[in-house]
Subunit: 254 residues, 3 copies
């Protein structure tokens, strides 16, 4: 089911109707209700934003998927999944991104995403053999960094929410983040994207620093932020921008 | 498809079932599950909130549409669209409000809204001739104000997110905000409503000031805030109220 | 329609498909798209989180329902309603929780919940006789506490949003909170849960204090917070945790 880049890009904007499993035709809805959004979808999204050099199409798809799942925007999830697969995001990476979002956006968001994703996978004959197993061989743990993190959290909220502290260690940092199906740099990218998408500025600095420690460049981080204005709204992007600025400045001055 | 005011008001509260395209009967759901919400919908919403003098029914509909789209509450969107049309919001204004929300609440929210809106428009025989064109003759730009805004943003986050800064100028302030299909005062009203609805208090002062500069009275702003408690929840209204208070006081002391 | 505890617990995790009215099979979606989430749902949710001693299964269900409604996660609402009924939450309490969420998460969230709930109620032959009436005999008002609250709010935002202040008194504190269908301690629990679930940290201290004044223990509050990490996402739980810590410390030092 190979498609041209032009078509793939067109899929980024609520204009993937022709390929939707349901027969729903989102592009026609856009045209019928908001001619200017249909216009922007071609001139501003497909022909501009998705082609900019500060972030690869593949990374843009990861960022967009994270935002769409984190905000429960199932109306555009199918077309974004199609675009992601066309942009080189693997089925395994999509599967792990959804699992990651269960923790960074909530269980129900991930469950809602699996229903849409299953239909897209089925249509492409993507099957279990292409997906990460439940119990994978984990990446090696950085004991020192993890001890430091765990101690900080324990000192902070250890007596306030011991159950939360325990799950954070056992499930998130000694399991989820070590799963090999999604590289740490990419986990950081989708985590930061989810935080921006849901307006959780307070949690951004730690994860943005980790993302950059994990290999995300400043240009890519900036590109992700600019990209997300379109999918998470300008107010979330602007609130995150001042946090990004501070993190960038602190890292530059080190 | 003229309807009485009483019916139109009834439509404001999850009781628009009789008119829903799908045959789903929301009012019956309310009655069947929560008799008290059904009771409030008549005594507190239809017979009280929507009739208060601090905001016109037409403005209440704009405010509610913005909140419902910004929060992706598609369950009550069809009935709110019906009510808006009955309250004098034009199809062109609805179209522009949806486009505006793509930027202030995220692309996926707007796309989801177009699907519901298309069905409502079709049922009323509203067609493309009644909607704003993609490329309209723009309102004149206030060069001085725009230079001041652009300079401030550039100084703030110009090196952090150059792509975002560019899109903010080119797409938002030199295009979207100048489109004639929705008056600047109304664009400000739906923008502030979206910010309240999504708990983005940090972004409220600039837009509330702009709204009042654009002609929104203090009484109307206050009425919109009180109205939104019902559609965006009390916590969002209370968080916004302290911001509104500060803005009102700063403007009064000038 | 009695079910075993094991099945009831399994229902907590997006694996309630076999019982869904629609025939949709969420558990199969999880398995098909994210084997690890399916694995976590059994090992981490059903066999661990839902069995912890810091919060009863019945309270966990109230907390989860509040979060799911507050975040409009309708994809897992039906299974959570089934689980809640199995855990001892009464139909009357579910009805009142939905009404309460209309005010603490927005009218549209409650309306969307009634549609799903009606189907679950119908399948269990739950009828109007088991639900609270619209106009119930109210619990006695604590005049002194209410005067103090009303005076504080009036001084704060009385001139900013008089309509909001009036509705807060008349509808919320002299009506909704006094309805007998849900105990004050439980209303506080679902209110705090909704605030955590929607990232409204600013509003948490007043309601958490009220919850504990209403009988919620520190251990239960902590358990609810840890529980919500799973259903509202880790970032919301962590942002709330520092607020909980401050409230716990302030109460301990009194």
């Amino acid at each position: 089911m190979k498609r041209s880049t032009a078509v793939a890009l067109a899929l980024s904007l609520g204009s993937g109707g022709a390929f939707a499993e349901s027969g729903a035709s989102l592009d026609t809805d856009l045209q019928a209700v908001s001619p200017v959004l249909d216009h922007y979808s071609r001139t501003r999204l497909a022909d501009d934003l998705w082609k900019r050099n500060d972030l690869s199409p593949r990374d843009r798809s990861l960022v967009t998927l994270a935002a769409v799942i984190a905000r429960n925007q199932t109306a555009i999830l199918a077309e974004q999944l199609e675009l992601a697969l066309n942009n080189g995001v693997t089925p395994a990476e999509i599967s792990e991104t959804i699992a990651h979002m269960a923790f960074y956006a909530g269980w129900g968001n991930a469950v809602a995403a699996t229903t849409v994703t299953r239909a897209v996978f089925n249509a492409r004959n993507i099957n279990a053999a292409q997906l990460p197993e439940a119990e994978a061989t984990l990446l090696p743990l950085d004991d020192k960094a993890e001890d430091s993190r765990a101690t900080r959290v324990q000192n902070n909220i250890g007596t306030t929410a011991p159950g939360l502290v325990k799950d954070t260690t056992d499930v998130l940092f000694k399991d989820l983040w070590l799963r090999p199906g999604l590289a740490p740099r990419d986990r950081s990218l989708v985590t930061v994207s989810a935080l921006i998408a849901n307006g959780q500025a307070q949690q951004i600095p730690a994860h943005l620093n980790q993302a950059m420690d994990n290999g995300l460049t400043r240009q890519q981080a900036s590109g992700a932020l600019s990209h997300l204005a379109w999918y998470a709204g300008w107010p979330n992007a602007f609130s995150a921008a001042s946090v990004f600025k501070t993190v960038f400045e602190q890292r530059a001055s080190k």
